[in-house]
């Protein structure tokens, strides 16, 4: 075992450039839904892990919302102890195959890597993905279930926050039931993030891992409609975690938004990803994709939508954004991928209306050019319309990717559960305790639309708090 040697002889870090991520050719991948990033091979992973300085006081871990033991698992990869690396990952992170793919490591763990100060940080995310994929390919044995402590927890929503909370509580011996409104679990991981960034089989596998821990997943239950929070307590649940996400789409309120061919990004992505419209008519859900698709917005959801539209067969896929590229909220990697695939960017351009033909189908987007003024409350420079600069952008599909707000179905039906003016659940402390006793919340339902890993961090904190609250009882 190479691992034995490593325990005795300290290995020195190897100086070499950060290993690039192999990817499908942009020309090819723009027309299929297969995963873009192909993953490291073993030698590349080990080579990348050898770059790690194995700092005595590693700072990388501070950057991780779920506190992955980064230097530990990277050291194990270096020593080719992949099983050990997987166990280290799983110790604090229930969903490593997902995090390794969709976390913005460049602003989390990797930004804290000492190597990054003078050169490039260790590719922590890519190594995490390598280890998680290795474990899946090995079909690792089912984890040992914790001794049941007799307490029941209901988790509302099976997105990243709920799954993480469920995993941690199941490991601590709780009987956990996840309630999901859709027909399949995963939340935004399956309806929002496209197959080419996060294969759905990977999500299903991670959820199967939670089921192996004893977590029960009940789909087709809309909490707030099928059952209320109070009824869940009546049914014997000792505590609740609300990970209901930010599922309501925003529209601009401009003329023409109800024309045929106008989608919210939520609908566009749900049809494409969850309902697999790209396989119509073998799958039953259709999608209308024109020759020219205009996606309004510039966050990750906008990038996902515009890249999906290329794969669905659009000749031209465009981003329409009112500020400049510097202000775009999307991850840099997503932006670059979109550019490589041929997405056209119309920046400093704001839609003022959608035009349609006599049959009510979209024919174009009426826009006005913008210039940037002083920074606004968000710190980004405020876009100001340039008078007389109106023009029409020809298109036959419009996707509104302007952000989302939390769904009010739970808060409207739960007395004492407060929300703020944005519809986000109000929390009383860091752990996500809501204004109702024994009800915690986390993820987008609390913060508004944010990232998978922040939601997971919130799920984790809530799990710790739920455990300590119920232990005291």
């Amino acid at each position: 075992m190479p691992g034995d040697e490593s325990k005795t002889a300290k290995k020195l870090p190897v100086k070499r450039p950060r290993a690039g991520m192999p990817a499908q050719d942009p020309k090819q991948r723009a027309h299929n839904f297969n995963e873009v990033a192909l993953g490291y091979q073993e030698e590349v992973a080990v080579g990348e892990a050898e770059r790690c300085l194995q700092c005595k006081n590693p700072t990388c871990r501070e950057g991780c919302p779920v506190e992955v033991k980064i230097s530990e698992f990277v050291g194990q990869v270096r020593d080719r102890d992949f099983r050990g690396a997987y166990e280290s990952l799983k110790d604090t992170n229930s969903l490593p195959a997902i995090c390794g793919r969709v976390c913005p490591q460049e602003t989390q763990c990797e930004v804290k890597c000492v190597l990054g100060k003078k050169g490039e940080p260790v590719a922590i995310g890519r190594l995490e993905r390598y280890v998680a994929d290795w474990a899946m390919s090995q079909g690792l044995a089912k984890p040992k279930r914790a001794t049941p402590n007799g307490k029941k927890i209901a988790i509302v929503g099976s997105g990243p926050a709920g799954l993480t909370c469920a995993g941690d509580l199941a490991k601590a011996g709780y009987q956990v039931t996840i309630f999901e409104a859709l027909h399949a679990p995963g939340g935004v991981l399956i309806y929002g993030i496209p197959e080419f960034r996060l294969p759905k089989a990977i999500v299903a596998e991670e959820i199967r891992g939670l089921e192996d821990l004893g977590v029960e997943v009940r789909c087709d239950v809309v909490v707030g409609r099928t059952i209320t929070v109070d009824e869940l307590f009546d049914d014997g649940f000792d505590a609740l975690f609300l990970g209901t996400g930010a599922g309501l789409p925003m529209f601009m309120g401009i003329p023409g938004e109800t024309l045929n061919g106008v989608y919210s990004a939520n609908e566009f992505l749900t049809r494409t990803n969850l309902m697999k419209a790209y396989l119509f008519p073998d799958w039953d859900t259709p999608i209308k994709i024109g020759k020219k698709v205009a996606v309004i917005g510039s966050g990750n959801v906008a990038m996902d939508s515009v890249r999906c539209s290329l794969r669905l067969g659009a000749d031209q896929a465009m981003i329409v954004y009112r500020r400049s590229e510097a202000e775009m909220p999307a991850r840099k990697e997503e932006l670059e991928h979109a550019k490589e695939e041929g997405v056209v960017f119309h920046t400093l351009c704001s839609p003022v209306g959608i035009l349609g033909n006599d049959e009510g189908w979209v024919t174009g987007l009426e826009c006005v050019r913008m210039e940037l003024g002083e920074p606004d409350a968000s710190g980004r420079r405020r876009p100001i319309p340039i008078k007389g600069s109106e023009f029409t952008l020809e298109c036959d599909t419009v996707v509104m990717a302007l952000g989302t707000t939390p769904n009010p179905l739970v808060s409207q039906t739960t007395e004492g559960l407060e929300v703020d003016k944005h519809g986000c659940l109000v929390t009383r402390d860091e752990s996500g305790l809501t204004t109702r006793d024994l009800v915690w919340a986390g993820g987008d339902a609390v913060t508004g639309a944010a990232t998978v890993i922040l939601a997971m961090g919130a799920g984790k904190k809530a799990a710790t708090a739920i455990d300590s609250a119920l232990r005291g009882k």
Partner: protein, 288 residues
Amino acid sequence: MFKILMKRELTPVTKFFVVEAPMVARKAQPGQFVIVRVTGNGERIPLTIADSEAGAGTVTIVIQEVGKTSRLIGALKEGESILDLVGPLGRPCPLTDRGPVVLVGGGFGVAPIYPIAKALRAKGVKVVSIIGARTHDLLILEPEMASVSDELLVATDDGSKGHHGFVTDILKQLIEAGRDIEHVIAIGPMVMMRAVAKTTEPFKVKTLVSVDPIMVDGTGMCGACRLTVGGEVKFACVDGPIFDAQLVNWEEAVRRGKMYAGEQKLAIEKMEKEQLSGKCACGCGGGH
């Protein structure tokens, strides 16, 4: 999985199912709907709840075979199961304490009118029901409607039963005869509901309808079901499906309802071709 406990064929293309769904049954109220999916690669379609029994844990749905999914549901037998059934969704129909209320059901829209009639009757409100169909063979749930209505009037387009003409003719006669009408609730095909709205408008009789737009999730997430009501964009799944008929932008609602007409046709053609070649249409690999 949601087991079908009872199936009735109301017409050759209209099927009535009593389905085991205790959690939905416990909550269902008149006017609400469920979203149903029948195969692993199937679409999600909304169906208005036609009845529910909390004690028995059952929900009744009625489908009219139009597209691929409704045909697949129609082909299910007693003892078989519906893969997914989620609800109850949408806001319940407001139920007045004082009548009389005139209920208008057209085609398979009679099915969702039934639980409203039943609930109003249970509150002691006088119910006058007008139900109609193209021809008497397509008229559904007449005895059931008779049992929950103080007065039941029937219209068929071809005159094979009841009034020869449309439900709106009878409605107009009632209004013109000066009958006491608290309000009207109409459910049926979009064109029929629009005609009811036009009929009552000049008389300023409050009229509610249950719209049936295309939906995906049914919980406010996608916005496929948006329509303009009183100049504002509403989501039928969470703001409706019951709206004031006079405020609905019907032209837009009808147009949006046809958004995937071409795809629906394609799916049916593919299904029929596969059935001819002995393959199943649901993708299960079997021969049913």
